[in-house]
């Protein structure tokens, strides 16, 4: 059974005239790394809010269809129960940070679930070191930069060691090297612990290479699903206006000019460079 499954999931916010997501049918298997992308306002964040029950418990509105996450129905379970299974990192870190120190913020979820002191200590130190904020732990989350706040938000969710990690543009305020480090950490947790990852991102140049599968949304609906290579090579992806990685785009532009490279459509500059090197040697 898939770890996450939705059937005709449709949701309309209070005061909105049309649904933000329409007839969403997706399945996510345990251990998968799924990348969700699509134009601004296409419903990606709304979908994330369904996974841990923020919709419909926190956001009122009309929810139709079915959703199952880790064998539970987020529509029926209280959000605190869902939080044990699903960790959600918000787009805007300020919306989830509130404690007097970074350390307390990271510990908050575990304290609420009543974990023993030593276990809390062990887990928060682990999470803060992974995300590179250990040295900042005594500071207030509101006196650090936007990028550092994002790391705190990620650490506080990782400390809970959820089965499913849902990240909504989690590194938008981070510089590219720091963002890459965070994605590497998430990818390695995905590989080593079998953590299921659902990542919402526009920046495919940074993230397409990590994903097992890509879901492309537009106007509240799922338009394409498949491996990143399949999705990015489809004409629809370009038409919907997805930010195709430059390496992928350059490959496509070259093949239109009749340049045939050996190998599949590249997702990273390394892949394209390798193919080009071979082609240049043959000339």
């Amino acid at each position: 059974m898939p770890l996450v499954e939705t059937k005709n999931l449709t949701y309309t916010y209070v005061g909105a005239v049309s649904p933000s997501i329409k007839n969403i049918n997706i399945e996510v298997e345990k251990g998968e790394f799924v990348l969700v992308t699509g134009p601004s306002g296409c419903g990606k964040t709304t979908l994330c809010r369904c996974f841990n029950g923020l919709i419909p418990h926190f956001y009122q509105g009309t929810l139709n269809g079915e959703i199952t996450v880790a064998g539970l129905k987020p529509t029926e379970q209280p959000t605190y129960d869902m939080a044990k299974h699903v960790g959600l990192v918000f787009q805007n870190p300020e919306n989830q940070l509130f404690a007097l120190s970074i350390e307390k913020d990271v510990a908050f979820g575990l304290e609420n679930l009543g974990y023993p002191r030593a276990e809390i200590r062990r887990r928060i130190d682990w999470a803060m070191k992974l995300t590179g904020i250990y040295e900042l732990r005594e500071k207030s989350p509101h006196e650090v930069s936007g990028g550092q706040q994002q790391r705190v938000a990620i650490a506080s969710v990782l400390a809970m060691q959820p089965e499913i990690l849902v990240l909504d543009e989690p590194t938008s305020f981070l510089d590219p090297l720091s963002a890459e480090r965070i994605f590497e950490v998430i990818r390695s947790l995905n590989k080593t612990l079998g953590l299921t990852v659902i990542l919402v991102e526009h920046r495919l140049d940074l993230t397409a290479k990590y994903a097992d599968r890509m879901i492309l949304m537009d106007e509240g609906e799922v338009k394409l699903q498949g491996s990143p290579r399949e999705v990015l090579s489809r004409e629809e992806a370009r038409l919907i206006g997805v930010g195709i990685p430059k390496a992928t785009l350059l490959y496509q532009m070259l093949s239109k000019e009749g340049v045939k490279l050996d190998g599949p459509i590249p997702l990273s500059s390394d892949e394209l460079a390798t193919q080009l090197k071979e082609a240049l040697e043959r000339v």
């Binding site: 936007g146 350059l250 070259l254 000019e257």
Partner: protein, 274 residues
């Protein structure tokens, strides 16, 4: 024109965020300030509209020292769009948000309406005219914040991370808009981590690290110097990454533009046009 002379700035908690920066931005220039988190980029640009005053050193906007004027009077000429839109949005509807500054600057009613309409259209927000900004997505809220500043058409525009949460189409619109602003001799300063966006625009690039400027020059040159970029926690744009790896060929290394890349590679691979 913006002139910063040996600017130092320390926050009340004692952290020195800017450590001796000198920088001149001419009218009509397009400058991207890049660097790692905490490098002092946002702190520096907050001096350009007087939100922060230097602890030592001088900042002049059009010849006037920022310590000798007010943020309110600077604002007419210097528009500032924050990194986090929630720091500047507060109105009931998108339309009111955009009209707010225009009202304060005393624009006439019909001019105000025209400008609001123009800004809504430019940023693809017409359908949200009567919507509360807080019902919009993160990327859309960012555009409302941008529209509210563009509406009064400041001479100098400072955009802190304008591409965050923006999809491909919106980024392309922003790029087109910046080009248009440049033809009108507007000055644009962006603070950004988005190397791909900067590679497409090819502005002057100023790299900062630990409160200081470590490189300043043409985008094409800065964005292809791997060592300097890594020092500032910025990665090379993908096109540049590809060309750096083709080290045995006779192809140039300092390529950031994808169309230029295509032409060079086609030539090198002697392909035939269809």
């Amino acid at each position: 024109m913006i002139e910063a002379e040996n600017v130092h700035f320390s926050y009340p908690n004692g952290i020195e965020a800017v450590k001796g920066v000198s920088l001149t931005v001419q009218d009509g220039e397009f400058v991207a300030i890049m660097g790692q988190n905490g490098a002092g980029k946002t702190t520096l640009v907050k001096h350009f509209n007087g939100l922060l005053k230097p602890t030592s050193g001088v900042v002049r906007v059009d010849g006037v020292e920022t310590t000798k004027t007010t943020v309110a009077s600077l604002a007419r000429n210097v528009g500032f769009v924050f990194q986090n839109p929630d720091h500047q949005l507060f109105s009931e509807t998108v339309e009111e948000e955009i009209a707010f500054a225009l009202k304060n600057f005393g624009f006439e009613r019909d001019v105000m309406q025209k400008r609001v309409d123009w800004a809504l259209k430019l940023l693809g927000l017409e359908k949200y005219r009567k919507t509360s900004p807080f019902l919009l997505s993160g990327g859309e809220r960012k555009r409302v914040a941008l529209a509210s500043v563009l509406a009064w058409d400041p001479k100098i525009l400072i955009l802190d991370e304008p591409t965050i949460g923006q999809d491909h189409e919106q980024k392309e619109k922003l790029r087109q808009f910046i080009i248009q602003m440049q033809t009108q001799k507007r000055t644009i300063i962006i603070v950004t981590h988005d190397v791909e966006f900067v590679a497409e625009c090819n502005p002057r690039v100023v790299l900062m690290k630990e409160g200081k400027i470590i490189a300043d020059g043409e985008g094409k040159n800065i964005l292809t110097s791997a060592e300097t970029l890594t020092d500032a926690s910025i990665v090379l744009p993908q096109v540049a990454q590809v060309f750096q790896q083709l080290s045995n060929s006779t192809l140039p290394k300092n390529i950031i533009d994808i169309y230029e890349a295509k032409v060079l590679l086609c030539k090198a691979l002697e392909c035939k046009r269809r």
